[in-house]
């Protein structure tokens, strides 16, 4: 008998089972009852609904909400942000060669590598099968690129240990896009841009990073040369 007598007609059994399974603290163990118990269960379910069960990372829903909020901030404060799409290279081969359980371990290892390579304000999420996404708030184009490279290296260095103690290593390709300062960019557009660059990274041979060109607004030597080549002969 799991549901509280103070909440007649409310069946919490399934919810409590889910929470226990997820590794969350059992609300009943804290002796909660009534509305407090209900609140704890709701909070727990919200938390569950934003997390990927396999890797423990935030899921796509969580990422979308974070990205929306972040892009609002970019438009308001002018501090640029970036989004990275991380896709494990030849993941299907892992599944085919070692089985799906091995695939799960690889996903967990990549998820852990992502989490370790980020700043505390960044958010990494598992957004689909072998696809991850990262939101980098308040980041310069150069650091966004640097972080992306670091993540790529960490993933390549990580390994998943199988039940028979064999180690499986994978690489990942990363596509990145920057949200320009002061602009309220549509999150889908930003993701689509990063996706284009993920495709570029894959077609370049994988295990590499491709970033949106809009990265630097510095005047290039070519532009400078053309500016300084303005004819001035007729001036006194």
């Amino acid at each position: 008998m799991d549901h509280s007598p103070e909440l007649p007609g409310v069946n919490l059994e399934e919810a409590l089972r889910l929470l226990r399974q997820s590794g969350q603290r059992d609300p009943l163990a804290d002796g909660l009852g009534g509305v407090a118990l209900l609140q704890r269960v709701i909070d727990g379910l919200c938390e569950l609904s934003l997390r990927d069960g396999l890797t423990g990372l935030p899921n796509r829903r969580h990422l979308t909400a974070t990205l929306e909020r972040e892009l609002d901030r970019v438009a308001r404060t002018g501090e640029p942000a970036a989004v990275l799409l991380v896709d494990i290279d030849r993941f299907k081969q892992v599944n085919d060669t070692y089985g799906h359980l091995a695939g799960d371990r690889v996903l967990q290892a990549v998820g852990a590598a992502l989490g370790q390579g980020l700043r505390s304000m960044d958010l990494a999420a598992r957004t689909g099968g072998e696809e991850f996404a990262v939101v980098l708030p308040n980041v310069s184009p150069a650091s966004a690129r640097r972080i992306a490279e670091r993540l790529r290296e960490r993933i390549a260095a990580a390994s998943a240990t199988l039940e028979d103690a064999r180690a499986v290593r994978v690489t990942a390709s990363i596509g990145g896009a920057l949200a320009p300062a002061w602009e309220r960019m549509d999150p889908e557009r930003l993701i689509a841009l990063a996706d284009q660059h993920l495709y570029v990274a894959k077609s370049r041979g994988r295990n590499c990073v491709s970033f949106e060109h809009a990265a630097s607004s510095a005047v290039t030597p070519q532009e400078r040369a053309m500016l300084l080549a303005f004819p001035r002969g007729r001036r006194p």
Binding site: G78, P180, W182, H213, A214, S217, V219, E223, L227, P236
Partner: protein, 263 residues
């Protein structure tokens, strides 16, 4: 472009390089626009090195700083300049504005909206260059008026400003004033050449294509130096000088209509 819709047209007068006559243009343009019947306010937003008050020989007791910190009322801070326009002065040496916090940004934005209700045209004298603060102030404006001289360094810096505005703020058009030209027609030629560089390098998706609107040139006129030293408006001290005439012409273009992105 996420430009806020104020009642007044907000025009940022900016430059890539310092010392090209930005504040001089702002003050005299305001006088010419006021003379043409517009209700004009010039806001000194060169927060680090404000000097509009010096150019206009004003001695403000309170400044933008007091308004932003809540220590002063907007009505007490706005001064009447000799040329028939209003001025919102900024204090000089306000180091704390070298990087704007979100709270100050928010207050600036609200302040501008409030000012915008009472004027037809608000000219913002921004700082020079592409620092965060300058770019932020530019982002609050409906239109950008970029001042440069024909010097190669000034032109290169003007281009840097255009590039950043295009890439970071998706500006589709920028008004251009060339100051201190030595030969009539030099301004238009330089504007065309600058447009050539812009067209060649500022392309989607990285950049927004930018249409430069050449709104006029100011001749190298000794009357300008004299008026600056006397801390008087050129339009008042030497209204018949070639530079004063040129300012009037620029005011006529600006007063008529904002630039359009489409060619």
């Amino acid at each position: 472009m996420n430009t806020p819709a104020f009642a007044a047209r907000i025009v940022a007068i900016t430059s890539g390089k310092g010392g090209v006559g930005k504040t001089f243009v702002a003050a005299n343009l305001a006088a010419a626009l006021a003379r043409a019947g517009h209700r004009v306010l010039v806001m000194d937003a060169d927060l680090g090195l404000a000097n509009l008050d010096i150019v206009l020989n004003l001695t403000p007791k309170e400044t933008l700083h007091e308004v932003l910190t809540g220590a002063g009322e907007l009505d007490d801070v706005i001064l009447q300049a000799p040329g028939g326009f209003s001025v919102l002065p900024a204090g000089s040496g306000m180091v704390e504005y070298s990087r704007l916090g979100e709270d100050v940004r928010e207050r600036l934005r609200k302040l501008l909206r409030k000012i915008g209700e009472r004027f037809d045209l608000v000219l913002i004298d921004t700082g020079a260059g592409i620092a965060d603060v300058v770019l932020y102030v530019n982002s609050l404006a409906d239109e950008i008026l970029l001042v440069t001289t024909p010097e190669p360094t000034a032109l290169a810096d003007a281009y840097a400003t255009i590039k950043v505005l295009s890439m970071q703020q998706r500006r589709a058009c920028v008004d251009l004033v060339i100051n201190q030209v030595r030969k009539s027609g030099e301004g238009r030629t330089l504007a065309t050449q600058l447009q050539g560089v812009v067209d060649r390098f500022l392309k989607p998706p990285a950049s927004q294509p930018v249409k430069l609107r050449f709104v006029g040139e100011l001749p190298n006129d000794p009357a300008v130096g004299r008026s600056v030293r006397r801390r008087a408006l050129l339009l008042e001290s030497s209204p018949e000088s070639p530079a004063a005439r040129a300012i009037e012409e620029i005011a006529a273009v600006i007063g008529r209509a904002p630039a359009r992105a489409a060619t």
